[in-house]
């Protein structure tokens, strides 16, 4: 990893400039949600359900503290979360702000308790008496349509949110023609998301403006304002939502939370400042979870490994409720849509089921649906290669969509913009050097280590707009982004954006876009975000959209501002508008000699000395612009990962000896930040592959509630990694940028599982489940041993 900082002299797009946001974070003095308070503020503890599924028969508040414990009935007229998919056949779940007559997962909030300290509030929560009538808990996907488990929501006849089908081309003909048909089953188990800072909300009434002010550690404050207004029967102008410094998110803060509604409603009622700071246990058991996919995949191919057809059956456990605005079928919808991956598969038949259970609801997590889909297709293609005795990269090369086939309409219903998938696979192969395997295997021949190599190619749809979100049937369509630019009278620039920065470096990269258009030093640019009262309306940061969408909006607004600056500058320089350019903080005349005038002098004229302006130019230097991509089916990043692993046959431990990434995210705005995102994503992908799991007992009890039993990768788990950047600028976005925040997390489960299987294949063993814990690897080895013993 040598590419993290390579200053290349550029300050605009393409420059590895250092981050504007670092200084305050390095001081430790910035304000996360737990650092924000109001005089007289009360701390909150939620009373959460200790059981997975039960009717609530009664709730008794502790004597003398009735005014400090609040149930749903105490919060006034509020609406539940209704995250309704437009898909035909979708079954609705009403997700109440506080459970009223029934609880549906361990951790579901039942009551709000107020204390002067969190400890006092927790004491109170413990003193509330709840009488439950327990019901059978749906704790496994296999129980989804089992009549022994009554439906968890009223009006349902089993525990299925939605079943969808795809049937494209002629799969039966493909099957008849195929030289080989292989069927495999895969499992990607449930995990928590784990931002290092948990969720949190602080709210109060601003008695001057009359606003209900809600600070929330969220990725999309404007959208939360809209949702809260709906749930609380308020007008949006009566609400201000602020996202302060956000300590990591990765999707887990990208939902409308019942806690947000309950806290806002309670503040509105009691008109006192209150704050909830989620602790780790709450986060692990009650914040939205991720993954939990099961697949049965059948591939039909000719003898050379050319894929003729694909069949799949996909099951996703979406938990107890549909989360807003994503809806519960998001995971299975992404899985079924992305399973064909980078390949020219035209005959595709699949079924995807979104099942309900008594577990925490499934929400978006870095990669959303794609880590599972990538795992299933990339395991399958590697199995096909092994079965045919072919090189796995060669089999991929025979099947990739070719550069001359874009835009490619996939069998999954997606439209890929461009790329060169083969180039990424060849680059990854060149970096990992498969010829090393022989030598490595010899070196470890007398040890317990089994050496294996695995590849995985991934696709990352980013910055998808209107067409895609309409197709997915969401209640909100995230089609555009806005930016407001204002120059100050001293010639500096303030950019207000409704996206939210929580580690991605957007305060720097958006300033780099402004530099590209205005020539202003990025260090002179302030980017403000996360506050509905400062920025124009917008959708927030998720789905790898902000660099494209907000970058596009800042680019459009900067171009408009540049026109005005050039016009004023030309007037002050007494030359034609067309004869000047913006450069390094000046408007410069093109004519020889190059007379110039600083942005500061222009700003003085625009704000303080309007008599200096041309007659047809209005005072002020403020612009609001909106941006959407020219085609709104997404800009598609992609890449190939390759891993060499050593599997310890004695302990079942998997050690990653080397890891390489060859990826393409179009035009790169800041290579240092792209490398940082890639490495961070990789760490989370390795977590999914090897360590992270949220198991449940048969009674629906979550079995990992601390960092002692929920393992996230540490510094010593991260391998030596090489990253190579390829570049196919997107034809549909301003500057050719593609998003890339999620890509690092998508293929590691597939590449590592392929590598582990390559390592243990010589013993006749295989593994098709994540995380590949030592227990599971050992079991795979023992099963193979038992199999060969009985054979």
């Amino acid at each position: 990893m040598d590419a993290l900082t390579v200053p290349n002299g550029k300050k605009g797009i393409g420059g590895s400039i250092l981050r504007n946001e670092d200084e305050r974070l390095l001081s430790g003095r910035s304000t996360f949600i737990a650092d924000i308070s109001q005089p007289g503020m009360w701390e909150i503890a939620f009373l959460r359900s200790p059981v997975a599924h039960a009717n609530i028969l009664s709730v008794t508040k502790p004597e003398g503290f009735e005014q400090r414990v609040f149930l749903l009935s105490d919060l006034g007229d509020i609406r539940p979360i209704q995250a309704d998919s437009q898909a035909k056949g979708f079954r609705r779940s009403d997700y109440p702000a506080l459970a009223n007559d029934r609880v549906r997962f361990v951790g579901e909030p039942i009551a709000i308790c107020l204390g002067r300290t969190r400890a006092e509030a927790e004491d109170l929560a413990q003193a509330v008496f709840v009488e439950f009538e327990e019901l059978p808990a749906v704790s496994d996907l296999s129980q989804c349509r089992d009549p022994a488990y009554p439906p968890i929501h009223p009006g349902w006849n089993d525990n299925l949110f939605l079943e969808t089908h795809i049937d494209v081309g002629d799969v039966d003909a493909a099957r008849a023609k195929a030289a080989v048909s292989l069927t495999r089953q895969y499992r990607m188990n449930r995990q928590a998301i784990v931002s290092l800072e948990g969720r949190g909300v602080m709210s109060y009434i601003d008695e001057r403006t009359g606003e209900l002010v809600v600070y929330s550690s969220t990725q999309f404050p404007h959208v939360i304002r809209t949702a809260l207004a709906h749930c609380l029967n308020m007008q949006e102008r009566e609400l201000r939502v602020v996202a302060p410094e956000v300590g990591g998110s990765f999707g887990v803060k990208n939902n409308l939370n019942p806690e947000e509604i309950a806290i806002a409603a309670l503040t509105k009622k009691i008109r006192k400042p209150i704050r909830w700071v989620e602790d780790r246990r709450e986060h692990l058991i009650a914040a939205p979870h991720a993954r939990e996919h099961r697949y049965e995949v059948t591939v039909h191919a000719d003898k050379d490994g050319l894929i003729l057809g694909l069949e799949a059956s996909i099951d996703v456990d979406a938990g107890a409720y549909s989360v807003w605005p994503w809806t519960s079928p998001m995971e299975s919808g992404m899985a079924i849509g992305f399973l064909p991956g980078t390949y020219t598969i035209s005959n595709y038949r699949a079924t995807a089921r979104t099942c309900a259970s008594n577990k925490s609801p499934m929400g978006p997590y870095r990669g959303v649906g794609r880590p599972g889909a990538c795992f299933a297709i990339e395991r399958t293609i590697e199995e096909l290669a092994v079965h045919l005795g072919l090189d796995p990269v060669e089999v991929r090369l025979r099947n990739y969509v070719r550069p001359d086939q874009f835009p490619w309409k996939s069998a999954g219903g997606k439209t890929y913009d461009n790329g060169n998938y083969a180039e990424s696979a060849i680059a990854a192969r060149d970096l990992i050097k498969p010829e090393r395997l022989t030598e490595l295997r010899q070196r470890y021949a007398d040890s317990d280590y089994l050496i294996g190599l695995g590849y995985a190619t991934y696709l990352e749809q980013t910055a998808h707009g209107t067409a895609e979100w309409v197709q997915r049937g969401l209640p909100v369509v995230f089609g555009y982004e806005q930016a407001a630019l204002q120059m100050t009278p001293d010639g500096m620039l303030i950019i207000d954006v409704p996206i939210q920065n929580h580690g991605q470096g957007l305060e720097t990269t958006l300033a780099q876009v402004a530099n590209e258009e205005l020539g202003i030093d990025p260090a002179q640019v302030v980017v403000r975000h996360g506050d509905t009262s400062m920025a124009p309306y917008g959708m927030g940061t998720f789905a790898s959209r902000s660099m494209v969408m907000s970058g596009g909006a800042v680019g459009c607004a900067s171009a408009l501002l540049a026109d005005k600056l050039r016009k004023i500058g030309a007037h002050l320089l007494q030359v034609q508008d067309s004869d000047v350019r913006l450069e390094d903080g000046f408007v410069v005349a093109n004519a020889s000699g190059g007379a110039k005038i600083s942005l500061k002098e222009i700003a003085v004229a625009a704000f303080l000395r309007p008599e200096r302006l041309p007659d047809d130019v209005d005072p002020g230097l403020s612009v609001v612009a909106s941006y959407r991509t020219s085609r709104d089916t997404g800009a598609w990043s992609y890449g190939t990962h390759a891993a060499i692993v050593a599997v310890d046959r004695g302990t079942g431990m998997v050690h990653i000896l080397d890891y390489v990434i060859a990826h393409d995210c179009g035009t790169i705005v800041n290579p240092m930040i792209v490398d940082g995102q890639m490495m961070g994503g990789l760490a989370q992908g390795i977590g999914t592959a090897l360590y992270e799991e949220m198991p449940y007992s048969a009674e629906g009890q979550p079995l990992a509630s601390t960092f002692m039993d929920y393992l996230v990768p540490g510094a010593s788990e991260m391998p030596h990694t090489t990253i190579e950047h390829l570049c196919s600028p997107s034809p549909i976005t301003r500057y050719g940028i593609k998003g890339m925040g999620e890509g690092g997390a998508i293929p590691p489960p597939a590449s590592l599982c392929n590598a582990v299987n390559d390592a243990i294949r010589s013993l006749g063993a295989s593994i098709n489940e994540t995380p590949m814990t030592p227990d599971r690897v050992l079991r795979a080895l023992l099963d193979a041993q038992a199999g060969s013993a009985t054979a």
């Binding site: 003095r29 410094e245 300590g247 990591g248 580690g503 510094a715 010593s716 690092g744």
Partner: protein, 157 residues
């Protein structure tokens, strides 16, 4: 309530506390030591790392009531410490942070590693950092930053 008297960041603090108050909560609430970031409150993530009587420690699993007479430094009090100054610069230059939540704990841990081991090799350094969880960076920038700072400080000695 219990009275404790201790020094925090060079200043004497004397106050009455609830005996069950953790040191982290006490420092955050009573001396505004908001650089203490709570990520797990059970001693695993390292976000609350501070210096107690010269030794690196986790403030979330210590009770304030046991700190009578202690000498405590948080990142606020170490802002001019030469190692911290260098580490901040190195974290900036090597992209050693993203969201910034783990950062104060990382800085204090790195300061301790450098003070005890000088310029450790990468493998040792990664093991030494294993008690601090970062969920954003994949540790690449952090490891590079600590190595960079260690080299800069060694050159100065």
């Amino acid at each position: 309530m219990q009275i404790i008297k201790l020094r925090v960041n060079g200043e004497e603090v004397e106050t009455a506390i609830d005996p069950r108050t953790t040191l982290a909560d006490f420092l955050r609430q009573h001396v505004d030591a908001r650089s203490i970031h709570l990520g797990c409150e059970h001693g695993v993530c390292g976000g609350c790392t501070i210096v107690i009587n010269g030794k690196m420690a986790r403030s979330c699993i210590a009770l304030a009531a046991t700190m009578d007479g202690a000498e405590i430094w948080t990142l606020e009090g170490l802002k001019d410490d030469p190692a911290i100054v260098q580490l901040r610069q190195s974290f900036h230059e090597c992209h050693g942070l993203q969201c910034g939540y783990c950062t104060p704990g990382m800085l204090i841990t790195a300061r301790d590693i450098i003070a005890r081991y000088g310029e450790p090799d990468e493998k040792f350094l990664r093991e030494a950092l294993a008690g601090n969880i970062c969920r954003c960076t994949g540790y690449a920038g952090i490891v590079k930053a600590v190595q960079h700072a260690a080299a800069q400080l060694a050159r100065r000695d």
